[in-house]
Symmetry: C2
Subunit: 268 residues, 2 copies
């Protein structure tokens, strides 16, 4: 219990005021989380980030940190790396949740940006190459048909919306649904429709979950590589468009970072 | 580069020898990971574990550590806790991967035991209340139809099999398939069959993934609450049998811990 009568030292500000203070100081430390090397390298090059020789992460994990300074910002780009056995990018919710947790613990960012490619629904207004800021994240492959567990499975949460950023950069805003499959089963499709999602990816809602637990604002920048309700097979269309769409993603991330520079969380 | 000519100090043993040494010393530090409070509390009580007042985990996460000593063992039971917003157990792959990572980083266990309930296939020999040790883990809801990524999605890996433990305690051995849904879609079913699984759960393969990355042996003890290829709805059967099967799980975990006490990893 607090010693009520003791006024000899000014007490620390209550948590609400601390949070407000951190909302109003200029953002200095940004962690960008990107699942695939093909998506990450253009951004690494654009901001002249370099791979840190001494990984801040434990021995055994394949996670890679690229770091650098850009204008007034310390930028870290975290890529979950190649699977140690199979040599492919460590995509999906588990790796992205783990790197988000580890990056927050180690680097204490003011803001997380998850940038990446996504599938889009043309019926909801998405076209190949469109870049979106995400308003809401949810899962579409965690069906737990027990009351309240069902809501936990869906895991709907708001992203940090950054209204000024969206307005200034004239970006589209949409809802995102996340699952660990590149394809879409009929059950996935029903859940994606229930989630009212325009975008489908394999990481976003997992990163949103961890960022919310640890109270770090997270912005999601998603570029459309494939039209899910179109006539081309997803994997083929995804691989065909990956390089070109990644170039658009890279430009969008540059604009977002330039907008953020010098601003506080409250000003986004 | 190593100073080749300098023989004044004995060099540290090479990593292989270090690993062998740790395989041969008595196990002293065990982390038990259990997803649901109903599954965890009987084990907490049996070993007279107490909730640690100062959580070793960061502010904001709901993860709970119970600890105690039993014979020659330091036991920590980690339960991912209740979702801070919804108040239900934080089940599924993301929470279990996160607590496995955080528990290994913080507590440096010699061995991880994941104990929990699972669905079982009667066609593969499972009955309600059966307790299994898992030989292999894989995922059934991570379909990525691109070469090599498909294997990454399935994420097949061997568990630590503990042949002496299995023989001495006369336990059944089976393969486990993991996914984030309590129900089973036709696509899940195809993947579970491809995984040759007798058991279906929502955490095992995620814990196996993190334990393998960080090179900690992991044993999986799974008790069957519901028959997936039977005629009762999964959620109903699961809830109906949860308490009774948890009692069997609890007894099995006690026997496993008693067997481990005083032994090395190599002796399991």
């Amino acid at each position: 219990m607090a010693a009520l009568g003791d006024q000899s030292e000014a007490p620390p500000p209550p948590p609400d005021q601390q949070a407000m203070a951190s909302q109003n100081k200029p953002i200095s430390n940004i962690v960008i989380i990107i699942a695939m090397q093909t998506e990450a390298l253009p951004i690494v090059n654009r901001f002249q980030l370099t791979e840190e020789p001494n990984s801040p992460f434990p021995q055994g994990v394949p996670w890679v940190r690229y770091r650098g300074t850009y204008k007034n910002l310390n930028l870290s780009l975290i890529w979950p790396g190649k699977d140690p056995v199979l040599g492919v990018d460590s995509v999906g919710t588990i790796s992205s949740a783990l790197v988000t947790y580890a990056a927050i613990q180690t680097l204490q960012p003011d803001l997380i940006i998850n940038a990446g490619t996504a599938g889009g629904f043309k019926a909801k207004g998405a076209s190949i190459g469109d870049v979106f800021i995400v308003s809401d994240c949810a899962f579409h492959d965690r069906r737990i048909p027990i009351p309240v567990f069902d809501l936990y499975g869906v895991g709907l949460r708001k992203a940090f919306e950054a209204p000024n950023l969206v307005k200034e950069l004239n970006l589209k805003v949409a809802k995102l649904s996340t699952g660990d499959s590149l394809d879409m089963s009929p059950q996935d499709e029903s859940s994606i429709i229930a989630n009212d999602a325009t975008l489908k990816d394999m990481e976003g809602a997992a990163i949103a979950y961890v960022a919310e637990l640890l109270k770090v604002p997270a912005v999601f920048v998603k570029a459309v590589t494939d039209i899910i309700d179109g006539d081309k097979p997803t994997a083929e269309e995804f691989l065909q468009n990956l390089a070109a769409v990644t170039a658009k993603l890279d430009l969008a991330v540059e604009k977002v970072i330039n907008f953020i520079n010098g601003k506080s969380i409250a000003e986004l």
